[in-house]
């Protein structure tokens, strides 16, 4: 299997996993779930670091460093704000059926 095709397979399988994991989520959790997923796509930070460490011109470096900054805000801020939302639920024994 060529490398491109392997990556495509990973993509297609991930689509189905993504559909399955959130199929049954209560309304209460819509917002925290959206916020948590939002933080997860902050993983673009990995890509930003990767292109920044391999930049071959100043323009590339500047753009890549901006990407590192934005991606960090997305990732770190995203997880912190999700945790704050979920903190509100603690101390409650019973939850949505």
């Amino acid at each position: 299997m060529s490398n491109g095709l392997a990556l495509l397979s990973i993509f297609v399988l991930s689509v189905f996993v993504g559909f399955e994991v959130v199929a049954k989520v209560s309304t209460t959790l819509h917002t925290p779930l959206m916020s948590g997923a939002n933080a997860i796509h902050g993983i673009i930070l990995v890509g930003a670091i990767s292109v920044a460490s391999n930049a071959t011109s100043n323009l590339q470096l500047i753009l890549a460093i901006i990407a590192v900054l934005l991606a960090t805000i997305n990732m770190v801020g995203g997880f912190v704000v999700t945790d704050r939302m979920l903190e509100m639920f603690k101390g409650k024994k019973k939850e949505a059926k």
Binding site: G18, N74, T82
Partner: protein
């Protein structure tokens, strides 16, 4: 680092993301799920500094940018008020989309003529969708922060402008694919940014959460596409997971609000700009004092409290609980009627009332509370409007038409605690305010509730 070891650790991070999403979809495991996601993200980020085959240049600059990002992101997330969380999520999503577009652009510049067609296609996709997500999220942020009007913005010929911009994006995309080069890519990015603005402007305030969720899914897909350009499996898995789950979530949210996704996004194009019904004429309303409200409540047998955004703004969740406890101690049956989208995000009221330790059994979902309204003596609407607006049933063509509402008009008396006669977030007049069985108590929700509590104690 050894390539195989590197990939194995990357796979572990990807599994953590799957477990994070799984955890986040159940109340018991939600917090742990989020922490698992953070662990996966940290692992992936640390790992990339040991990536095999990387030049590992500019380390100091990269670490400085990360530090700056933490300094901006963490305090913003910590200090933000509950009421402003949705717009912060929108903003985080936008910067993520922007980052993805930049990453692909840099890789595209570096590859130059050696880029394969598949890589160019993925770059084009990332830049277009990332830019739409970026500018669209900024507009949703401004709408939620009320830096601009929350009503749908529709201008004459708008649909032609938007169609023209879309054609422009597609045209420049073909140009990039055929001839490559930097300028076509920049023009395409600019047009995509403009399209993102046009795309969100016509969306009404109440539908904004759905749009945030959709743009979130968009950003996920751009991350996946940039993962393809960089040949990074972790980015493909994480991005695709967010894209797929975000799409499902967007549909679930739209269903909870009784909207079709298509109608939400394009409704403003097909509908005529709304005349605000009766907004200009001053009609009589019955406004009462805290004592009147206390008396109504005191002689009721069943009271349903309907909280809304006003409760969140006034931070009145503790006061409302005090009132509910007082009524319960008088032998009155008290319940909270929770509309799924009351407030500015789904589940907003549950979160807020949970903070005040309101017993979970008292929170009744819309479908269960609606049949009980005919047997309810008093409904106390605290800072809610659109979710009890009968226009959703009676006025076809109004922006919230078709949205399921709490049928409070069936109850014996309705009390509105409102700041003013200003219409709700969706910008629609509420006929119920003029109903003879409605009493209005103007003022900040917390002040009003405090006054009602002391009036009740004095009775």
């Amino acid at each position: 680092m050894n390539r195989n070891l590197y990939d194995l650790i990357g796979l572990f991070a990807a599994v953590l993301f799957i477990m994070a999403l799984k955890g986040l979809s159940s109340p018991k495991t939600a917090r742990r799920g989020n922490l698992l996601g953070a662990a996966g993200a940290t692992l992936g980020t640390v790992l990339v500094f040991w990536a095999p085959g990387s030049a590992h240049k500019n380390l100091a600059l990269i670490l400085a940018a990360i530090a700056a990002g933490v300094i901006v992101g963490v305090p913003a997330a910590r200090k933000i008020q509950m009421t402003q969380m949705p717009q912060l999520v929108a903003l985080f999503n936008g910067v993520g989309g922007g980052a993805a577009a930049l990453v692909s652009t840099v890789e595209y510049l570096k590859l130059g003529k050696s880029a394969t067609t598949a890589e160019i296609l993925a770059t084009v996709f990332t830049v277009v969708v990332g830019c739409i997500s970026f500018s669209g999220s900024i507009i949703t942020f401004m709408k939620l922060q009320e830096l601009m009007t929350t009503r749908p913005v529709v201008f004459p010929g708008g649909r032609f402008v938007i169609a023209g911009t879309l054609l422009g994006v597609i045209g420049t995309a073909i140009w990039v694919i055929n001839s490559g080069g930097t300028s076509p890519l920049l023009i395409m990015g600019g047009l995509a940014l403009f399209f993102g603005v046009l795309f969100v402007l016509p969306v009404g305030g109440a539908d904004v959460p759905i749009v945030i969720s959709l743009l979130n899914a968009f950003t996920g897909l751009t991350v996946a596409a940039s993962g393809y350009v960089l040949q990074a499996t972790l980015l493909i898995v994480a991005g695709t997971l967010v894209g797929a789950s975000g799409t499902i979530l967007t549909r679930l949210m739209a269903t909870a609000m009784g909207r079709s996704l298509f109608g939400t996004l394009f409704g403003a194009f097909t509908a005529k700009p709304q005349e605000s019904v009766g907004a200009s004429e001053a009609r009589p309303v019955k406004s009462g004092s805290a004592d009147d409200v206390a008396i109504l409540l005191n002689y009721a047998q069943r009271v349903v409290i309907v909280p809304g955004f006003g409760l969140a703004v006034a931070q009145a969740q503790h006061t409302v609980r005090e009132l509910a406890d007082l009524l319960t101690s008088k032998g009155i049956d008290v319940a909270y009627g929770i509309h799924p989208v009351a407030g500015r995000m789904p589940g907003h009221m549950n979160v807020l009332l949970a903070e005040a330790n309101v017993p979970y059994e008292q929170l009744v979902e819309m479908d269960e509370v609606n049949p009980t309204f005919p047997q309810t003596d008093v409904v106390l609407v605290v800072g809610a409007n659109d979710v009890v607006n009968p226009a959703a049933k009676t006025t076809p063509g109004c922006p919230i038409y078709g949205m399921p509402i709490l049928d409070v008009a069936q109850a014996g008396n309705v009390i509105f605690l409102k700041r003013s006669m200003r219409p709700g977030f969706a910008g629609i007049e509420n006929e119920l305010l003029y109903d003879p069985k409605t009493t209005l108590l103007f003022g900040d929700a917390k002040d009003s509730l405090t006054k009602v509590v002391s009036a009740l104690k004095a009775l």
